[in-house]
């Protein structure tokens, strides 16, 4: 479904080129739940943004369902079926949750349909569907709405950038349930999650460990997880405040 070929991404920092992604080659097949983990600063979020088109690679190719999408815009990639959930969801003054879900679905879905998506992410729909996506929503609520927008798009490839970041432990438990459900209902699509939470890694079919911008190791979760348990790549939620 997705192939990254010799993917490189450099930024200019203080007059010198810095390599963030170094010659990455990766494949993600259909019906796979893939978790990308690794230490902070290893290039995980950058890779997710390269796939969604938010960043443009310095060199290399991104192939999605046999099509070279390397120079395609964010919009065109979204229309091809790539969905992206932000690490820090964006707020919109005036736009309501229903508006965002309708944009995501690409049609004027009914209130009942919108409520279904919200129920999927554990939000009491009646309370939220007409809420403005502004500062009155908590981090956990925003995160769940963000996930609901990706569900409403029904993408072939859904990418979640650190879905657990900035949410409390209670919301985290719900989040795990959402991803477990997504894993069990996967059908012809694939999911990539950027995370270093052990609970999320345990749902994965495949795990990719990114370190210093390169693939440190990758393979079936059963092979990789034992080797990284207890490291920075597989953290356990501590139960104190944010995970």
């Amino acid at each position: 479904m997705l192939d990254l070929q010799n993917l490189c991404f450099e930024v200019n920092s203080d007059g010198s080129e810095k390599e963030i992604i170094k010659d990455i080659n990766l494949s993600v097949d259909e019906n796979r739940f893939v978790v990308i983990t690794g230490p902070n600063g290893g290039g995980k979020s950058t890779m997710a943004k390269l796939i969604a088109g938010i960043e443009t690679p310095t060199s290399g190719k991104i192939i999605f369902e046999g099509q070279d999408i390397t120079s395609m815009s964010i919009t065109d990639r979204a229309r091809l079926g790539i969905g992206f959930a932000f690490q820090q969801p964006v707020r919109f003054k005036g736009l309501q949750v229903i508006d965002l879900l309708r944009i995501a679905a690409g049609k004027r879905i009914s209130l009942a349909e919108a409520c279904n998506y919200l129920a999927e992410v554990g939000l009491c729909a009646a309370d939220y569907v007409k809420r403005e996506i502004n500062a009155s929503l908590s981090g956990g609520e925003l995160k769940r709405i963000e996930i609901a927008t990706v569900l409403a798009r029904k993408p072939k490839l859904a990418i979640f950038d650190e879905p657990e970041a900035g949410i409390d432990l209670w919301s985290f438990q719900n989040l795990i349930r959402i991803f477990e459900k997504m894993r069990s209902e996967i059908n012809g699509s694939s999911i990539i999650i950027i995370s270093h939470q052990e609970r999320i890694l345990r749902i994965a079919d495949d795990i990719i460990v990114l370190k210093n911008g390169a693939v440190d190791r990758s393979g079936p979760a059963g092979d990789i997880l034992p080797a990284i348990m207890g490291t920075e790549s597989a953290a356990v939620a501590c139960g104190k405040g944010e995970v």
């Binding site: 969604a52 938010i54 815009s73 964010i74 919009t75 979204a78 229309r79 790539i82 969905g83 992206f84 932000f86 969801p89 964006v90 919109f92 003054k93 005036g94 736009l95 309501q96 508006d99 965002l100 944009i103 995501a104 690409g106 927008t149 798009r153």
Partner: protein, 311 residues
């Protein structure tokens, strides 16, 4: 729309734009087109009559009138017409009414068209008023479409007034001046939506005085200045008693648009609680990116963000 005198398609369209009128409104109304009344209706509770001196109306709402409405839209479709109208609303005690005003100018000619409308509201004790005012301009003539609304609100004890003021399109120049004076336990809520484009110029000036204990005002203005347009927003609250006041001025600038926001608060009582918030900025890049990941083009994303912001 069936009216007492003939109206043309343009006038019909503008009545729909400014007052959402598709037919003769229920209740009391006065429809004004090109400087004259083309239809009027008073009810048992709401009387509309012309002023004996000058141009304008006197509208009397009997005490205890509930769930009734007054529509007084104005249309100018004659290029070069300039008018000043003073409308006075005398609202009795214990009323609950809706007032829909609004003015639309269609100018296809070369001369400037201008409507200066002054509305004075005398809101009786414990009455509730919702006031909706929409301004709109159309027509491709070089003559300007000018609207200068003045609004004065005098609120008696325990009264509530909610004002929705919208100007989204087509008005070349506007200077809006709104003043309000509130007595004990009176509450004023204002929601203003303003979008300017081209080389339009808009000034909106609010001055609210909270004169007695328990009074409150909440004024929120959202504006979008596109192209080379200019907006000046002057929101001011004076607290003279135990009161609470909040103003919020939230603006998006695009292209070469410019906005000046001048918040001012004056507390003349130790128990006056006054707050002002103001923010001006362009559309955040991350908002555009988020909507693009949902399949919108950059331009579509921009429109969605603005439509939501001004909703």
């Amino acid at each position: 729309m069936k009216v007492l005198k003939e109206i043309d398609e343009t006038q019909r369209r503008i009545f729909e734009e400014v007052a959402e009128l598709h037919e003769i409104p229920v209740g009391a109304y006065n429809l004004r087109a090109n400087g004259e009344s083309i239809g009027r209706n008073s009810t048992a509770e709401i009387e509309i009559k012309s002023k004996t001196e000058g141009s304008g109306l006197e509208i009397y709402v009997k005490p205890g009138t509930k769930n009734q409405s007054v529509h007084i839209p104005v249309v100018i479709s004659e290029s070069g017409l300039k008018e000043t109208v003073l409308n006075d609303f005398f609202i009795g005690e214990d009323c609950d009414i809706l007032i829909v005003a609004g003015c639309g100018i269609d100018n296809c000619g070369t001369a400037n068209s201008q409507h200066d409308g002054i509305h004075r509201f005398f809101v009786g004790k414990n009455s509730k008023v919702k006031y909706v005012e929409k301004h709109y301009g159309s027509g491709d003539g070089s003559g300007k479409r000018i609207l200068n609304p003045g609004t004065e609100v005098y609120m008696e004890e325990g009264s509530t007034m909610e004002m929705e003021m919208t100007q989204i399109k087509g008005v070349d120049s506007t200077e809006r001046k709104t003043t309000a004076a509130l007595k004990k336990d009176a509450h004023l809520v204002v929601r203003e939506r303003l979008m300017t484009h081209g080389v339009q110029y808009a000034v909106s000036d609010y001055h609210v005085t909270l004169d007695e204990d328990g009074s409150s005002a909440d004024i929120v203005s959202r504006g979008v200045a596109r192209d080379n347009s200019y907006q000046k927003l002057d929101l001011s609250i004076t607290g003279n008693a135990v009161c609470s006041g909040h103003t919020e001025c939230d603006s998006i600038i695009m292209d070469e648009g410019r906005i000046l926001a001048i918040p001012s608060l004056e507390a003349n009582c130790i128990d006056a609680m006054l707050v002002h918030e103001a923010a001006i900025g362009k559309i955040a890049g991350e908002q555009l990116v988020k909507l693009m990941t949902l399949g919108l083009t950059e331009q579509e994303a921009e429109e969605q963000i603005i439509n939501g912001f001004l909703k």
